[in-house]
């Protein structure tokens, strides 16, 4: 019985850790391959957060199930990353738009554009083509 629990907990931990690491790796590929800042910030802001949350919960379960003592610092780290990573992503995205970083020429909508928010116009499309 103990052996079964051991195997199950090891599988759970390995699954969480590997899933998180693969998600982080995919987000790094996204950061390298995406065409402009705003799409890259999707990869960096969402996928990295998810990957790190999975890895940290895997580590938390490792210390809880395999070593028998849960660690509050890891829980605090998980909650902190979960709260702050989207905020940081939002802040830097807003700063980028206000400091004039251009959209990719293939993007279809720019809601924050002066005068023309909500629907796309020919003028806005020309504006993006540099």
């Amino acid at each position: 019985m103990t052996r079964i629990i051991e195997i199950l907990s090891e599988s759970l931990i390995s699954l969480l850790i590997l899933g998180g690491a693969v998600t982080s790796f995919i987000s790094s590929i996204g950061l390298l391959r995406m065409p402009d800042f705003y799409t890259r910030s999707h990869a960096a802001g969402k996928a990295t957060t998810l990957g790190v949350l999975l890895v940290l919960s895997g580590v938390f379960f490792h210390f809880w199930l395999a070593e028998g003592q849960a660690d509050a610092r890891l829980l605090l780290g998980i909650v902190f990353v979960f709260i702050t990573a989207p905020v940081a992503s939002h802040l830097i995205g807003r700063a980028a738009y206000r400091s004039g970083v251009r959209l990719w020429e293939g993007s279809v909508l720019d809601d924050l554009r002066e005068g023309g928010g909500g629907h796309d116009t020919e003028e806005a499309k020309r504006d993006r083509q540099h």
Partner: protein, 98 residues
């Protein structure tokens, strides 16, 4: 099985930090470098947690919190700097009563 998973995760996280560092050096715009730096910080946090499993110790777990806080503060300060040109705003009209 566990050891293999830990080693593979260490490898993948290191590779993703390398990719983020490339984006940080290449740019092209300043916010690109800042989100890449933020991603490096967050990946480093996961890497430290993995190292603490591989080394079988809990003493590194404080660093998880520390790096999380530092990465967030750094990104917030950079965002403020890019948006307004200053990090801390000093109002010249507001003086302490003498």
């Amino acid at each position: 099985m566990m050891e293999m998973a830990v080693k593979l995760a260490l490898l993948l996280l290191s590779l993703s930090i390398l990719g983020n560092l490339y984006r940080m050096l290449k740019g092209p715009s300043m916010p690109d470098r800042v989100i890449a730096l933020d991603a490096v910080g967050i990946n480093l946090l996961a890497l430290i947690a993995m190292v603490s499993i591989a080394a079988g110790t809990r003493v590194y777990l404080d660093l998880v919190l520390l790096i999380g806080i530092l990465a967030f503060l750094g990104t917030a300060a950079f965002a403020r700097y890019l948006e307004r040109g200053v990090v801390m705003e000093v109002d010249p009209d507001h003086r302490d009563p003498q």
